[in-house]
């Protein structure tokens, strides 16, 4: 009966590890969020290709304007503050969703959308100003890469705003159904991931751009 001595701890370890599989597949909430996490990572890989293209072409100005002449650090700082603030309020919104608090959800979603829209407005203003000064995407390889990279991030923010509006309609019409809260979880993952992409964007494009 040598086995019996070692058995209790082994049995405990086996029980500890096998509970999840014995209970069947993970709940849909976990599977959906994990699947969306994989999508986000693939989206980040796409951004990495745009970042690589920008880094390679950053000095290819073809005699046109360079980043030092074009970038305005004050507006970049305001844009960064807007996006960071909206990421924070998006987190507070997901806490309200967890607490099944409708008013809190609407309020934080409204603040998140307002900050996101301010960010997008400032970015479009910046783009319009650059194009007006002759720094359009077709001017040089540097500007093509710049507009592709920053514009792609802006497009993500714009689609996030549309998604948030749709989610608020769903909360209003259907309440906090499991399907609705799953989508809200995915939205907050998306919004936080966009902020991480922006951290690299302002570091590589704007801060390193004005030094070069």
């Amino acid at each position: 009966m040598n086995d019996a001595v070692a058995l209790p701890s082994v049995r405990a370890a086996v029980a500890f590890q096998s509970t999840a599989s014995e209970a069947g597949p993970a709940p849909k909430r976990i599977v959906v969020a994990y699947g969306f996490w994989i999508f986000l990572l693939s989206d980040v890989v796409m951004f990495s290709a745009l970042f690589a293209a920008y880094a390679v072409l950053a000095r290819a100005t073809a005699g046109g304007p360079s980043g030092v002449e074009l970038f305005n650090q004050v507006s970049v700082a305001v844009e960064t503050a807007c996006l960071l603030g909206s990421s924070y309020t998006c987190g507070l919104m997901s806490l309200s969703v967890q607490a099944r608090n409708r008013v809190g959800t609407y309020c934080w979603a409204a603040v998140t959308a307002a900050l996101g829209a301010t960010f997008l407005g400032l970015e479009l203003q910046e783009f319009a100003g650059m194009i007006a000064r002759g720094a359009a995407p077709q001017r040089s390889a540097f500007l093509s890469a710049f507009f592709t990279l920053v514009g792609c991030h802006g497009l993500h923010v714009a689609s996030g705003l549309v998604w948030l509006a749709v989610m608020m309609v769903q909360v209003a019409l259907r309440g906090f159904l499991p399907s609705v809260t799953r989508r809200l979880t995915c939205f907050s993952l998306f919004w936080h991931a966009l902020d991480i992409v922006w951290v690299w964007l302002f570091t590589i494009v704007y801060l390193l751009g004005v030094r070069a």
Binding site: Y34, L41, S48, A55, L189
Partner: protein, 127 residues
């Protein structure tokens, strides 16, 4: 064993079903403060003349990596716990591919630029 040990979903707060709301707000606020400090440091470092110029680029990259860590931990709630292994492994794979794409592109294109004939010489050859 009454508790079923599922993995934790990405973005799920640690004690989502047990703890109250205040701790969640605290986590997000700490994350916001950390991100604000790191961002402010980045903008200061890019504009100051107090630092040794060539080192600033490296410093900005380190600050960005630190801020990415703050966002992942405090906003996306990625932890090192055993229930988070799948999330961390997927993230690690993503970071591997991103660094391969970025570093590989820069490396190849720098070599290509070095090996390329200067434009002036190229013009002379065509004559």
């Amino acid at each position: 064993m009454t508790d079923t040990l599922y993995d934790r979903a990405p973005g799920e707060t640690p004690g989502e079903r047990e703890e109250g709301r205040s701790s969640g707000v605290l986590v997000y606020t700490v994350g916001l403060l950390g991100a604000v400090i790191l961002t402010a440091t980045s903008f200061w470092a890019a504009n100051t003349s107090m630092l040794w110029g060539p080192g600033v680029a490296l410093g900005l990259a380190v600050l960005a990596i630190a801020q990415m860590g703050v966002h992942l931990v405090f906003f996306l709630h990625i932890t090192t716990g055993p229930d988070n292994t799948n999330n961390v492994l997927a993230l690690a794979f993503g970071i591997l591919i991103v660094s391969l794409v970025v570093i590989g592109s820069l490396w190849i294109m720098a070599n290509l630029n070095d090996a390329m004939m200067p434009p002036a010489e190229l013009m002379r050859m065509q004559r």
